[in-house]
């Protein structure tokens, strides 16, 4: 039986010629036959490691093919983990190439070997999972905690194929698959929701001790039903357990220990140790604008607690979800978990920078809605200029209106309450028109500001030099007021103060809007 398995493997990888043969003779279900320990050595080159891994798989004796598809799925998962490990930078960088090679070589093979051959893979991966885990390095464990889930799902093959390069991403799919232990389970968002629910449930303060990544992965594993992340039991058991929410607690404890251990080993740059429940919460956070299976590098910079990032389908098993930009209320835990996007720097500084930049751009968008006429403007500098102009114009309007209001003598029937009610119920209270579009606003308000039913205010006293000024004022206020543009208004007040007679004559000359404006401007030029 061994020969059957060895040959196809050998045909796959050229570099693996020697080792598989040797290992075939080795103990079959040796706990160390799992290739993960081989990775840790990293004494050999990439090919060597991969060879040893494959050989370990191959060497195991054929077990009953109860988990046929599982094996291929498992292998793919492992390969994915390889890639993720390598990418995350914690494992040896070789694993990246390894994963590439593995994926290239094994995947097609696995796909083709869904038949009898898969049985050979089942045993090493299935049977001694516990032992394997114990021997795995802490770092690797953190990454591959999901390996525990390998045993569960026949549908893994599909998902593993999809997310070959994402170790963490596949977690979600796996966990979802655990509960419905049916055959080929295509990737469904609903199961993910369940798993996410589990995550939500388990994201309790008790998880505070967990590291960011570890917590999420562990949590997922727990949610998927693994009582102990380190222990793999029958997949059926897992699936049944995964349905139970309270399991989260067990898993939490287990994961706590594991994570605490892991976190010491996997100390990332920033102070993520202190990230309490944030990593867990982050596990539920929506990965930022990402549904596509781009390999996300989890960079737990700081934890931003947000319990509602469940909209998206996939969540990082490592528990780092990108900061959800749409969450204005910053929770008390001021850590923000950010995930680096594909092709972007994973440096903690750059990630923090990106978070900051995204916050700023989000706020700029809000401002864009508030400031009229900003839709066409793009770019931070121009937007800032527009905003500054708008704020300045608003302040100028306040000043002008206060001057206008001060010039209004106390109306005889001034009633605060009546004023208030009328204020509220006016259908279109004049919108503060910016200084710029004078013409449009003027025409718009011309009809609106017809003289009110209120009697004209008593002649302004102390403003005009002569009695005629008051008449001029009233006359002036009427037509000019209809214009509803502020420059002429300003000029009005100044006229009242300075030039009553001249104004009178000028006003009588032309009563149209435009002429008034023109005269106003001319007068302004004269007396400005």
């Amino acid at each position: 039986m061994d020969n059957e398995f060895v040959m196809p493997w050998q045909s796959l990888s050229s570099g693996m010629a020697a080792q598989p043969a040797d290992l075939n003779c080795a103990s079959k279900q040796s706990p160390d036959c799992f290739f993960i320990p081989n990775w840790d050595d990293s004494s050999t080159d990439q090919g060597g490691r991969f060879e040893s891994a494959l050989s370990s798989i191959v060497s195991s004796p054929p077990a009953p093919c109860s988990y046929i598809s599982n094996q291929s799925v498992l292998i793919r998962e492992l390969i994915g983990k390889l890639g993720s490990i390598g990418n995350s930078g914690e494992a040896s960088p070789h694993s990246l190439a390894l994963s590439g090679n593995a994926a290239a070589t094994v995947m097609p093979y696995i796909g083709g070997s869904n038949g009898t051959n898969t049985s050979c893979y089942s045993t090493p991966l299935n049977s001694p999972p516990k032992v394997n885990f114990t021997t795995v390095d802490r770092v690797v464990k953190e990454r591959f905690s999901s390996v525990a889930g390998f045993t569960a799902d026949p549908g893994f093959a599909e998902r593993a194929a999809r997310f070959s390069c994402f170790g963490s991403r596949s977690f979600n799919g796996r966990t979802s698959q655990f509960s419905p232990n049916s055959g080929e389970l295509p990737y469904k968002p609903n199961p993910l929701m369940e798993s996410r629910k589990f995550q939500r449930v388990s994201s309790s303060p008790s998880l505070k001790a967990l590291g960011s990544q570890a917590a999420a992965t562990v949590q997922q594993n727990v949610n998927s039903g693994l009582s102990d992340r380190m222990e793999l039991t029958n997949s059926n058991e897992e699936s049944s357990v995964s349905e139970q929410i309270p399991r989260g607690e067990n898993g939490l404890k287990a994961s706590n220990e594991a994570n605490s251990r892991k976190r010491k080993a996997a100390a990332k740059g920033k102070a993520k140790e202190s990230a309490p429940s944030t990593p867990v919460a982050n596990a539920m956070k929506v990965p930022e604008s990402n549904d596509n299976p781009s390999p996300k590098r989890c960079k737990p910079n700081e934890g931003d607690e947000n319990g509602n990032g469940t909209a998206k389908g996939e969540d990082d098993a490592k528990g780092n979800s990108t900061k959800n930009d749409a969450k204005p209320p910053e929770p008390p835990k001021d850590y923000i978990h950010v995930r680096a996007r594909r092709g972007q720097a994973t440096d903690s500084h750059s990630l923090a920078e990106r978070v900051r930049r995204e916050k700023i751009s989000e706020r700029m968008k809000l401002l864009q809605d508030l400031v009229p006429g900003c839709n066409k403007v793009t770019g931070k500098a121009l937007m800032l200029d527009e905003i500054i102009n708008y704020v300045q114009s608003l302040q100028r309007q306040v000043e002008f209106l206060s001057m206008k209001l001060s010039s209004v003598n106390t109306p005889l029937d001034f009633n605060a309450d009546a004023l208030m009610s009328k204020d509220m119920f006016q259908p279109n209270n004049s919108v503060p028109c910016p200084m710029f579009p004078l013409d449009s606003s003027a025409t718009a308000f011309h009809g609106h500001n017809r003289p009110q039913s209120q009697p004209l205010p008593p002649p302004l006293q102390g403003h005009g030099p002569s009695g005629t000024a008051t008449q001029v004022d009233q006359l002036n206020l009427g037509p000019c007021h209809n214009v509803e543009s502020h420059l002429p208004h300003l000029n009005d007040l100044q006229y009242q103060n300075f030039c009553g007679d001249d104004l009178h004559s000028i006003v009588q000359m032309g009563f149209g809007q435009n002429s008034n404006q023109e005269t106003a401007f001319q007068h302004q030029a004269f007396h400005g």
């Binding site: 209001l405 010039s407 503060p432 003289p451």
Partner: protein, 164 residues
């Protein structure tokens, strides 16, 4: 109700607005302070337009800051502090009459103007903006702009009603 008088049927009082919106709050406070200014005999007689305009402007800003709940927003806190500080300073200045101080400050401001950037300008415009990072500054700006626009609307409607 019982005696029907077609001529003098008093319209039912308008129902109060269901929820006190920002505009309502601002309008209420502003109208109160405006009434104060209008009915204050001291202001009406002396000084004239400018003093009253300044008082009304102060009233507008303080009503705006208070309507949002004085200390809830950074800009409202800074605004109220500035107004109170200015009031105190005005008293001191009036008593001491050191106008030279004002002129000096204006001069220094003119010299620096060319070098300011967009965000610095914004910081100067928004009360309390000097001590914030850009992110918070933008958030405060958006809220400030909202309230300022509402305040202008309120003032505009009042001005429309009382000035023909």
């Amino acid at each position: 109700m019982a005696p029907e008088d077609p001529v003098t049927v008093s319209p039912p009082p308008p129902p109060p607005p269901p929820t006190p919106s920002l505009k309502t709050k601002i309008a209420r406070r502003f109208v109160k302070s405006l009434a104060e200014v209008w009915t204050s005999r001291k202001l009406a007689t002396e000084g004239g337009v400018r003093k009253r305009a300044r008082r009304i402007k102060i009233a507008a800003y303080s009503s705006m800051a208070r309507a949002v709940g004085g200390s809830r927003r950074a800009w409202s806190r800074a605004l109220l502090a500035k107004l109170q500080g200015r009031a105190k300073r005005r008293c001191h200045l009036r008593s001491q009459r050191c106008l030279g101080l004002k002129r000096k400050r204006a001069g220094s401001r003119n010299m620096v103007r060319n070098e300011v950037s967009g965000s610095d300008k914004l910081r100067r415009l928004v009360p309390g903006g000097k001590a914030m990072d850009l992110c918070n500054l933008l958030e405060e700006t958006s809220h400030f702009v909202q309230c300022l626009a509402t305040q202008v609307k309120v003032m505009q409607s009042i001005a429309d009603r009382y000035s023909v």
